[in-house]
Structures are given as C-alpha cells and as structure tokens.
Amino acid sequence: MTEELLNVEAIEAGYGDTRVLHGVDLHLSEGEAIAVLGANGAGKSTLMMTIAGIVPSRAGRVSYGGEEITATPAEERVGLGIALVPEGRQIFGSLTIEENLKIGAACLKHRIGATAARKQVDEGIERAFTRFPVLGKRPNDSGSALSGGQQQMLAISRALMSSPKLLLMDEPCMGLSPKLGNEVYDILKALRSEGQSMVIVEESSRRALDFVDRACVLKVGRKVLEAEAAELADDENLLSAYFGIDQAVEQQ
C-alpha cells in the first residue's frame, strides 16, 4: 500500500555561491500527493529542479522507487517516470502544439522500443486532445501563439506524454486568472482520482490543501512544517505563522 516512490534526504542545492536548500527532506508514497508551500524564494522551485535533476544536489540523497538517483542526469530521470511541469510552463514556442506533445514522449523510444512508443505517442496525443479540445482544434499552431492557460494545458499534457509515475507541478496557476487557475486544479483533481502521484508547489495554500494528502512548508531553504493536509486546513493560524504570507493573497 505505502510503497515508497520518492525519498529526498537532507538535500542541499543552489546556484553558484548561493545555497538555496539547506538540508530538505521529502517523502512520497506511491499514489500520494503532497503540496510544497512557501513564500517566494523559499526554495520550492529549486527543490523541484533538484528532484528533476536539472539543479545538482551538493549534499544529501534522492531516491526514487527504492533506487538512488542523486547523480542521475535529468534526461534519464524522465525515463524513470519523473516528469516536471516547470514554473512558467516552458512551452517550446518554435514547435507546434503537436510537436510539443511528441517531444514530451522523447524518452519512450529508449524505454519501450520504437513501435510501442509510436503507438503510445498516438494514444497520448489523442488523450491530450480529448482532455483539452482547444489544443486539438489547432495542432499545427506554434506554442508561442497560445494563451497562458492553453500553454499550461499543453505543459501538463506534454508531461503526461511520458506516462510519468511522479508528476511534479511547479506553481501551475502562476500568471493565470483565478478562473483558469480553478480549471487547472480541476484537471489536477481528475489526475488525482486516477491515482497519479504528484508533488505540487504553491505559494497560496487553500486550493492545494483541498486535494493533497500532506503538505509541507519551506522557509528560506528549510522545511519548517509538515502535516496532514486536513490538519493544516483546519489550523489556519499555524499555517499562516509558518507561512508568513499575506492572508490577502490567499483570499484571491
């Protein structure tokens, strides 16, 4: 039941001379969802990039499915089943919608062979277009022509193309209107009900706490709190004390 999926132990990471993460632990079981909350600059994105393998860890250990992957390069981690929907979505503007989806499945050829990969790519594209009809209407439009909301839909679809076991979502609602943000959360909820394991990074807690199992709060590169989501949602004082962000922001 509680098969370990991801285990981050005392991870330290940063950029150049700046250390951003000072020994962060994160544990996730298969089928679980956890929210990583924290103010701007707390190190949430760096944590995601370290799990995905783009930012190297300087100390500590990352293991996935029981295997240590601390030194595994990013391009191999997606093949293991870790997919990141990064902050700012990072859609390839010079590629079409369909090319963006296809490239999301680039790791499949190595994993399951060319023929099986082709079949899974076709199915994945169909699923994406069923989930987001707006993308399917214009598959040859370039990624740069999409609105923010459409880009987020494409970014999620692109990550799903590799059939990840672990989905990392970095601030999925950033820059989106509240209405679009709700739509993104509806999608995430649907994925949750399909049993998708995920780590979701958010600045504002309310929406995320609704559908994750657990949540932790980062503050200047350290984990200061971790609890069941229901517990945190009930105890807003505790949360805001650690969280240190304006309640006004959360009310949005």
Partner: protein, 294 residues
C-alpha cells in the same frame, strides 16, 4: 539590362557560399554558443580530400560525396573530442578552444599536404561558361546557386519536418526543458556538428572551384566571410545568416562594379568599416536578433 542581370547572378552566386557558411556556423552557435574559428579549415580539408581522391582516380562525383562525408565525420569527431567537454562553459572558452582546434587541424594539413598551393582538377561543368545572348554565365555560378538552394531546402526540411529537427529547435530555445523531456544534449550536439560539417564539406567543393589553389592557410577567407555575414545578419539566427550572406555577396559585387580601380584594393577595408558600423549601430544584425535555428 544584360549587365544588371549578370551582376545579380554574380552576387547570388557569391552570396550563396557565404550564406551557407553562415548557416553552418550560426547553427552551432544557436545550440552550443560555439563561435568556431576553425570552420574554414574544414573546407580546406574537404578540398584536400577531393584532391586526393580525384588524383587517386576516383570519378569526380564519387570523390565529392566521399569528401563531404569525410568532412562531416571530421567535424563530428572534433565536436566530440574538442568541443563537447567545454559545452556549458563561457562562450569565450569555446572560442579559444576553436583557435586551438584550428591550429592542430591546420598543421595536420601542412604536414599531410605541404604548403605548396595545389589545384583540384574540376570537370568541365565547373569551368565552362554559358553564353545566353550577351549574357556570359559561368556554369559554376549556376551550380553554386542551385546547390545552395538544395542545401537550404534540405536544412529546413530536416529542422522543421523531422523529429531530430524538432529536438534541435527545442534545444536551441529551452535547453533545460529539452533535457527534462528526456533528450540527451549529446544527441542534439552531434546532430548539429553533423549538419554544420556537411555544409562545410559542400561549400569546400564550391569554394575552391572558384578560388582555384588550395593551401593549408586557405581557411582564413571563408572563415572571415562567414563571420562578416553573421555579423550582418545577427548571430544565432538562421534567416539572418542567410540574409547576411547574400547581403555580403551583393555588397562585394556592387563594389567591384562601381568602385574605381584605384580604390578596389580597399574593398576589404570598406567591408570591415561597414561591419564595425553595424556592430556599433545595430549589434543584433540587420535582421534583428533572436536565436532561432530554423
């Protein structure tokens, strides 16, 4: 009228080789921030290869294909051995590496072929002149323009219509995101070295049909012309590189036609003055800069 047409064909032909060179260089820059001063020496090695193969008695067409394949492989080997370990380092490191590569590959040519100028025995198709009315068109110019058109077409098909091409475009735009979807940077880099090398191989065949003698130091002119074209067009931008190449070709023909003979010797100085002016006034090139390989 005839004279004008003649000049246009001349300019297109000269511009074609510059445009191709700029294309090969700018692709490597858009992916790896590589400013490669060892690019021209690849043409020289391609020409020596063609020389050796034709002298060995191979049919010209076969020799051309083998020399282009040879330059492609040479470029990939250089890329793998010399450049790849430094990718991600500051561009200046790669630039200096390219000077080192140039020295090594150039001295290898001196050792292998000597410093005496050598001439490739091109078939008549490369040397004949076509007379259409008063128009006098060297066949080489038509071959050059036609080859350039084919190369550019193939380049765009590869980049825009193949899975490998979309990986290259993705890597030029968002290198980290490209890794995150599982594409090995090495695959993209080797693809780029192969394309850039193949272009150098093709241009080598055309270049020495026009300029004649090959020496191990014949690399300077093509390298310089390519960089001038890139400065004109904007580094890292394919359309800019092509535009820059043709602009340089047009400029050279225009000067050779209009300038009095006593000033013609200063042609390179005028070109460089224009380059400096552009660097000051419009550092992103006449096409405006945005890294875009396709």
């Amino acid at each position: 009228m005839t004279a004008l047409l003649q000049h246009i064909i001349d300019a297109l032909s000269v511009g074609s080789t510059y445009a191709l060179l700029a294309l090969g260089l700018t692709l490597a820059f858009s992916i790896m921030n590589l400013i490669n001063f060892g690019y021209g020496i690849l043409l020289v090695w391609g020409a020596y290869g063609l020389l050796g193969l034709t002298e060995a008695g191979l049919p010209f067409g076969v020799a051309v294909i083998l020399s282009v394949v040879g330059v492609t492989l040479l470029t990939m080997i250089i890329g793998r051995v010399a450049f790849r370990p430094f990718i991600g380092a500051p561009p200046i490191t790669l630039l200096i590496t390219s000077f080192a590569v140039l020295q090594i590959v150039q001295y290898a040519a001196i050792v292998a072929w000597g410093e005496k100028p050598r001439i490739i025995n091109y078939p008549p198709a490369f040397t004949d002149v076509l007379h259409i009315g008063a128009l006098r068109v060297p066949l080489l110019e038509i071959i050059t323009i036609g080859t350039a058109a084919v190369v550019v077409l193939v380049y765009f098909v590869i980049l825009n219509r193949t899975p490998l091409g979309s990986k290259v475009r993705a890597a030029a735009e968002l290198p980290d995101m490209t890794r995150l979807v599982g594409i090995r940077p090495g695959t993209v880099q080797m693809t780029v070295f192969a394309i850039s090398g193949a272009i150098a191989g093709v241009v080598g065949v055309l270049w020495f049909a026009k300029s004649g003698a090959i020496t191990p130091r014949s690399d300077l002119e093509p390298t310089l012309k390519a960089f001038i074209a890139i400065v004109l067009g904007g580094l890292g931008n394919t359309r800019g590189a092509l535009l820059g190449g043709f602009a340089l070709g047009a400029l050279e023909v225009l000067m050779s036609v209009t300038l009095p003979e006593s000033v013609l010797g200063y042609e390179p100085a005028i070109v460089f003055a224009i380059v400096i002016a552009i660097l000051i006034l419009r550092p992103s090139g006449i096409a405006g800069a945005k890294v875009n390989p396709a």
